[in-house]
């Protein structure tokens, strides 16, 4: 057995499905029964965490869990059932535009009276909101652009060259100190957060898990390559103006220079990435495989769905004066020096 003790600890279970998956990984029990998976809330903590744990074996794994379990047939069968429930719900709940052009057009305008997370944080977010936001987002940003790298072998020509160029930029253009995940760790340090990979998995809400699960789902399945490309385009197109607002939030709350730099860098980088993804990656993919257009549109629109759900969750908690994190409030755990 190949146990890697440097890896993150398994998070606490959030219900019978995630508990059974955990026990199986530790060799302590059977996989969840079919009825348990069928009965779990598809967007709820239990199912989303179970799926997140299954996917994490493809990234960095968990301490005390054999890395061989990444390709365990029984676990993959359970993952497939979880994925089927998640993808079916997303397909049912996402209103999808009739064309890729229409789906993109909705993202290429800026509302003057926007009400999303970045609008809230730039206008009235306090330091505690900014820290919570960073703790939640760390689940993705500490592996920023990793799920999208899986699509590269499934693309050709223009689409591949464009996607690889954007990923190269995400990974620092060959310089480890410019890897976006590294820049995010520096932002977390500015905010007095723990930069250990996987540290905030315990605290993250189901809506955050769902945004990362969507990326892993689309990245790991060749059959969903069109949706992965659409998803990536949606992230890059909305990132630049969103990052400008988040940079404002960092400046206004005095978060620190690295925190400002992370979002300033994304304003500029993603203004470029957006162009490359639209013209080269989507354009190239649909020139080669025009039948994937509905999947690209789905990828764009489903990203909006899971991001809207996360924004609603966080804004509702904050409006009601609650923390969106499952563990004790950050201020009780860490102190900003």
């Amino acid at each position: 057995m190949d146990h890697d003790r440097r890896e993150p600890p398994l998070p606490s279970a959030r219900g019978p499905v995630s508990a059974a998956v955990q026990e199986y990984l530790l060799g302590a029990g059977p996989l969840p029964r079919h009825e348990a998976v069928a009965g779990a809330d598809v967007y709820g903590d239990d199912l989303q965490l179970a799926l997140y744990i299954c996917y994490e074996l493809h990234y960095r794994g968990f301490s005390g869990v054999s890395s061989e379990l990444e390709w365990d047939p029984a676990l993959l069968r359970t993952r497939a059932v979880l994925e089927h429930r998640f993808l079916s719900a997303l397909r049912t709940d996402t209103p999808v535009h009739d064309s890729v052009e229409d789906a993109l057009a909705g993202l290429l305008v800026e509302p003057v009276d926007g009400t999303g997370l970045s609008h809230f944080l730039s206008k009235e977010g306090e330091l505690r909101h900014v820290r919570e936001y960073a703790a939640q987002r760390s689940l993705y940003h500490l592996k920023e652009a990793d799920p999208h790298a899986w699509v590269l072998p499934r693309l050709w020509g223009r689409a591949k060259a464009g996607m690889a160029a954007v990923e190269f930029d995400e990974f620092g253009g060959g310089r480890p100190d410019r890897v976006h995940a590294h820049l995010f760790a520096e932002l977390m340090t500015d905010l007095g957060l723990d930069t250990t990979y996987g540290y905030y998995l315990e605290a993250a809400c189901a809506e955050m898990l769902a945004t990362v699960n969507l990326m892993s789902l689309l990245g790991l399945h060749r059959s969903l390559r069109g949706a992965l490309v659409g998803h990536f385009a949606a992230v890059e197109i909305t990132s630049s103006p969103g990052s400008r607002r988040l940079a404002e939030a960092m400046r206004r709350t005095g978060a620190g220079p690295a925190a400002e730099h992370f979002y300033d860098e994304h304003v500029e980088a993603d203004a470029v990435h957006e162009q490359v993804v639209r013209h080269e990656v989507i354009g190239g993919l649909l020139a080669e495989e025009p039948h994937l257009a509905p999947d690209v549109a789905f990828g764009i629109d489903v990203t909006g769905l899971v991001e809207d759900r996360l924004a609603e969750r966080l804004l509702r908690d904050w409006t009601d004066g609650r923390s969106s994190l499952r563990t004790r409030s950050l201020s009780e755990i860490h102190h900003i020096s």
């Binding site: 800026e110 509302p111 160029a165 103006p241 400008r244 500029e268 980088a269 203004a271 470029v272 013209h279």
Partner: protein, 69 residues
């Protein structure tokens, strides 16, 4: 990658769009009106043409149409 040696053998490509930034293969050095220069070594650079960017000369997507929802 765009910075490979063969790049120096051909003209640098600039992509023009009706509405949006000029896309230039990087790295680039831009001389501004006050004589100062700024450098970007990104693989591709988006140069603002609408003059609304707050990070001029780099595009920050301020050219986008603004709408009331």
């Amino acid at each position: 990658m765009p910075n490979s040696p063969s790049d120096s053998d051909r003209p640098r490509r600039i992509r023009v769009q009706h509405r949006g930034p000029l896309l230039v293969e990087g790295p680039v050095e831009v001389e501004l009106e006050d004589g100062s220069t700024v450098v970007s070594d990104r693989f591709r650079v988006a140069l603002c043409t609408c003059r609304r960017s707050r990070r001029y000369p780099w595009c920050d997507t301020s050219h986008r149409e603004r709408t009331r929802s």
